[in-house]
Symmetry: C2
Subunit: 401 residues, 2 copies
């Protein structure tokens, strides 16, 4: 089998952990598999480098930031390769550009255009374990780019897709995908399987197990993913197109605190207004999550939507002039909100799921500010002070004894 | 003017020093020059990375060591570029491979084959300051190589040669080339000028100001070098083909403690023996310095030569079998030796220089074990315990009041 394994930065934070990971890789290799490994920068390396940059120039260009940060993975691939050499296996480490990662030129948040895996293939044919630097590539100018946070997951899936790997294993510090955050909700259960779409919703909703772009890419190229622990030897959670029917319907309850609610009150009720609002937001490179448009007073309408907290001010700035021009009454944002979501394929064909969620919140006296539903999820916005209680209550309603 | 400036690792060890260097560069740029900067890894970065590697695998492959160590310069070029951005000048940082450094495949001690400076030229044409990672390149397999210790000097001169730069400035923590180590000999004088050949002898003899390969390359391509301080604003020492005649004849006194003396006693006195001995030494990748062959007893001959301390055991190992085969009486090395040298173009046309040196040593009761002379230097081997006294005495004989 051709297996791609991805290890995060905490898995290789020190020499002991590097060897733990190296042993995993060597085990897989000695079972007769071809192994390509994607690894992130060690532990706090990336944050340390960011601190160094901030000390010198907090407004450094993203091109130079990418030059700086990509050194982190360069260090970790070399050290991991050295550990595998010590264990007696043939190995070679490759930087993003050596491994054929071509991206667009959006420094710090680049998208992979292609992975030319010829070099990786040649090294595998020489019976080598191949260690690839995650998170990085080069653009058409031969400049180094990084894929942004969580980019190493995407690197791993991109290699798996390019090489038609049989399996892409994502090793993390949790044992798989849970019905809720197991550090917060002790009754949370590990899922054996989950579909790409469910995983996508969970990722969007703030469950930090897998980077969303990596799941999208896995879905597009039908790459079977497995999320599993880099410490505990146990099967993890498989992410695939379809899962067995007898499995539970609701896959998880997720909480997202990194959101802000932007509100525009008193927009003229004319065609094209929403389009123009959101094209301005898109131009500011802000991703919008939930959107609710409602009828206001006196022939006006109100628009509410959510963005990441760090994008809130930028969003309002991007809209101010246009809203003034239209004569909107108010444009503002609030950050004291949380989003609680229930995810599961087939939710829409089963009545009563949304109701059961609302009942659990009502029992705890938690006010629902906004509701949004899709085919496989129900999300509500609530006061962020209620987030933990709400998550526990909703989880208990679906997974309680 | 097109000026290449090289800054060592201690010059960019922290944010304050990075800005000091950045200001130097920006000054040069604002005077209307095109500026290409070569920089080493910050302060102790390289040693820290070596420690990390040793913790994991002290016998790591050199290929992976080069992958690891080259990350050090990647960090320093990005940080220096960020500082220059902060000072408001257009700048771009380039890794060895981006700057066109192609080397052979001797990992950890690679030789530069060519510098394809197209990218650097294009960035200069865009009015940018170009910051290049020293010490590194890639080989024909697209793998990263490093040039070995002091390689950043060579990187700088190679760029200057490839681009026909008007001047190559090597910034260091001393103010220029001195007649002796100014930390040890307070009366040491800074030289205004020195020839390539004199500089080569001084470098060979243990004066650590400039890497030898860089001086050889500068000589070959007639690149004018200037050695100057990265801290004090003052003219340094110019290294060039010819210097004014009225300048002092003796350029410096150098001391080298990193030598071992290898002795072979009782070799058969036949043609080809010396050739075979030294071809075996060369095969072991050991550089030989002084060689003295003398007549032994009973139709045999003895050979004495010096190598770096770290190469001594390897040298004896490489020769053991052959010496046994020839019936040599003894093969051994000693490390308690030091080499003291006087350097100056034209020494051979001035009688009495060697004698003045020997007199100074004799006055201090220091025994000379071996003497070796060339056109521009006189070297003696003495007991290493006498090295400091000998250096001071010889310096005083030539430069004393």
């Amino acid at each position: 089998m051709l297996i791609v394994q991805k290890f995060g930065g905490s898995s290789v934070a020190d020499a002991e952990r590097v060897f733990r990971v190296a042993n995993r890789i060597v085990d897989t290799y000695r079972q007769g598999n071809e192994v390509v490994v994607v690894v992130s920068a060690q532990g706090d390396t990336t944050d340390d480098l960011i601190d160094k940059a901030n000390e010198i120039n907090p407004n450094a260009s993203k091109r130079e930031m990418d030059m700086l940060l990509s050194a982190g993975e360069q260090i970790s691939i070399a050290l991991l390769a050295m550990a595998i050499e010590k264990l007696g296996c043939p190995v070679v480490s490759l930087l993003g550009w050596q491994a054929g990662f071509l991206t667009n030129s959006t420094y710090s948040a680049a998208r992979i255009k292609t992975v030319n895996s010829e070099r990786i293939r040649a090294e595998l044919d020489r019976k080598k374990i191949v260690i690839v630097a995650g998170f990085q590539g080069i653009n058409k100018y031969d400049d180094i780019t990084t894929l942004g946070r969580g980019g190493s997951d995407t690197s791993a899936v991109a290699i798996a897709a390019s090489m038609r790997a049989d399996l892409c294993q994502i090793y993390t510090d949790v044992e798989g995908v849970y019905t809720a955050d197991p550090r917060k909700i002790p009754s949370a259960k590990k899922l054996e399987e989950i579909t790409y779409d469910e995983m996508l919703e969970l990722a969007t909703l703030g469950a930090q197990v897998l980077n969303n772009r990596s799941v999208e890419m896995a879905k597009k190229y039908s790459i079977e993913l497995e999320v599993l622990s880099s410490i505990v030897h146990a099967p993890g959670t498989k992410v695939k197109e379809t899962v067995k029917m007898e499995k539970m319907l609701v896959k998880g309850v997720a909480k997202d605190l990194d959101i802000a609610r932007v509100m525009i009150v008193g927009l003229p009720d004319e065609p094209g207004v929403a389009f123009k609002v959101f094209s301005r937001v898109a131009k500011a490179h802000v991703n919008v999550d939930l959107i609710i448009q409602s009828v206001g007073r006196d022939g006006t309408k109100d628009i509410t939507f959510t963005v990441k907290k760090s994008d809130a001010q930028k969003t309002v700035d991007a809209l101010q002039e246009y809203c003034d021009h239209l004569g909107a009454k108010k444009l503002y944002f609030e950050t004291d909100v949380a989003k609680i979501s229930v995810v599961g394929a087939g939710l829409e064909t089963h009545e009563g799921f949304a109701a059961r969620m609302f009942e659990a919140l009502s029992d705890k006296n938690i006010n629902i500010q906004t509701i949004s539903t899709s085919e496989i999820k129900v999300s509500v916005l609530i006061d962020d002070a209620d987030a933990d209680v709400a998550t526990a209550a909703v989880h208990d309603a679906f997974f309680g004894e």
